[in-house]
Assembly symmetry: C2
Homo-oligomer: 351 residues x 2
């Protein structure tokens, strides 16, 4: 219950909320260790209540520790149930996130929108610093992803289809203990490598193609994320040059990581390497993002990020160069911010 | 562009919107055939505009047909860009779905919340009737899921781990051409079968265990969904009885499906079979849901559903009985509503 106590402390500092109402799926898993609840009410003091529908009620009772589990019956109005359970306390409710229609239903149930306040930032700040147990789970997810990438590397050859590479990599991750993919595996070859998020063209790999593989594993709800870009057959000088630039950009960025450094400075470190090599217009995305229960979470490594790195952050470092019509290179690792700097959690082998 | 024209017609009937602003990810894929845009503005008349960030811009230009593609630059306010592009027209904007914070940002950009109206229902109604091309894609996703289930059946034996079954089933789906899983594969054995959505216990299957396998494939963004419950080794009379009841409930429900029938009547048909067998308290979820771009979409087959079935609906029919401490059985197929009744799209083989 450390995570819940941390949130209570953050609420006490704000000194204006009677309860935190959690609705976001990843946030619910974060605080309850359980996937499949509808909401969680964390009062400033006392026991928290997890609201669960009939379909997941027996499993919640068996698996969730330290929370009051309340069944939400068919046809019952969740928002009214939450409001009734909270009682007629005067102070506001903090809310993490809700769609506009659910927000209105909740506002009605608690007696007006002025009783609600979006406070997702409090949870964002907690979640971005991983505890030892979380780091252990992510470390394992990263090892599994490495096994997948190793298999992808072994599978790529001239004449292989993109989907075959994905099939073998995912199977290898499952064999290594993965609970499933962290996100849809990307295998993009040839000109499709110029599309950072290319999907299911299922090209047959040709001599001299770049082949970009972006994959991740899930281990007990925690995720990993790694990208490597290979060449099938013999690479050209231009391909080698681009790959070297991206690799150097990643190296410099990782070397720049330590607690207290602004996340945007890390992004700029990589961006500068790519700009100086003349490819500045072709690095079309942020340098990285946090990884944990979600594959994209805080902190963000971008030119306009307000995050400052702390020990316990887990982030991707993934510079890329994408040349329309030619192809592209991205190299990505999941990295732990440590007291002394950074530790690569993925990337046991190199290209 | 038939799908967009259908929405324009629905808007014309409503006679109060100047544009539909689409933000929901599956809705964006539905209208654009593309995954990875930020928003889509569909005006009552004239060309629609897809808003895309730099990371996916080149791919959108290469792959999207018939839409104006607008780049949203780093640091640019998406909501203001949309409002500017729409111009100072008097009428309201229809919106499909937005989180409360984005909703507020959009309201500010268009000059007040009174200029916005949630109209997700218009798109829900369109999406629930699949056209021939969509049916073809779902049919293929269902064939792939069948291949996965066949492999699961062959893999299940006393002594196998749950994750091995998942690994082999997913690998078989990939080999059969899957673009990925439609959702996290569920393999639950023994007492865990009493939890409809059991996750990663990774039990070793024992003699006489129920083993529930719930999986689906993705084919060009469209999904499938099938569940079978097997027995490892020799089943007991009680297990056989429960399985027969669930199977009969599914059969009766599918026989009841045809255009014009209330979805809740189909749910009640299955529920009645289970109630009459004395297991009414243990069927703890809805009978089914629509399947398409999302694995849960309209129409809903539940006791309180307002949907009326139409030809072109694709729904799951998945009765279940879950006995705490003992285990459970669910049998699920993806079914197409036809002019004449129903066609099973999954389920080429039986238990």
């Amino acid at each position: 219950m450390t995570k819940i106590n941390n949130l209570k402390q953050a609420m006490q500092k704000e000194d204006k909320y009677q309860s935190f109402l959690v609705f976001n799926s990843a946030n619910l898993t974060y605080f309850s260790g359980f996937q499949g609840s509808m909401a969680l009410r964390i009062p400033l003091e006392g026991e928290s209540t997890l609201f669960v529908s009939a379909v997941n009620f027996e499993q919640a009772k068996a698996e969730v520790k330290g929370l009051n589990i309340q069944l939400v019956k068919r046809g019952e109005n969740l928002m009214e149930t939450i409001a009734n359970q909270a009682g007629a306390l005067g102070a506001k409710f903090a809310v993490d996130s809700l769609g506009i229609e659910s927000w209105r239903a909740l506002a009605k149930a608690v007696g007006g929108e002025e009783k609600l306040e979006v406070a997702s930032n409090l949870i964002r700040e907690l979640r971005k610093v991983k505890d030892q147990q979380e780091i252990q789970l992510i470390r394992q997810a990263c090892k599994i992803a490495d096994a997948g990438m190793q298999k992808a590397k072994e599978t790529i050859r001239v004449g292989v289809r993109e989907k075959e590479v994905a099939a073998e990599a995912e199977y290898a991750m499952r064999k290594a203990g993965s609970d499933g993919v962290a996100f849809d595996t990307i295998v993009a070859s040839g000109f499709c490598c110029a599309f950072p998020h290319s999907t299911f063209q299922d090209r047959t790999v040709k001599e001299g193609d770049f082949v970009m593989v972006d994959l991740g594993a899930t281990h007990r709800f925690y995720r990993s994320d790694i990208t490597r870009t290979f060449v099938a057959g013999k690479g050209s000088e231009k391909q080698k040059r681009i790959h070297e630039v991206v690799k150097l950009a990643q190296k410099k960025a990782i070397e720049h990581i330590k607690p207290g450094v602004a996340a945007k400075e890390v992004d700029m470190t990589a961006r500068r390497v790519i700009e100086e090599a003349g490819f500045g217009d072709f690095f079309v995305h942020n340098l990285g993002h946090g990884v944990g229960l979600e594959v994209h979470e805080a902190p963000i490594l971008s030119t306009d990020s307000k995050d400052v790195l702390e020990a316990g952050n887990v982030v991707t470092v993934e510079p890329g160069i994408y040349l329309p019509g030619f192809g592209g290179v991205r190299i990505e690792d999941t990295v732990l911010v440590t007291e002394g700097g950074a530790e690569r959690l993925t990337g046991a082998f190199a290209f």
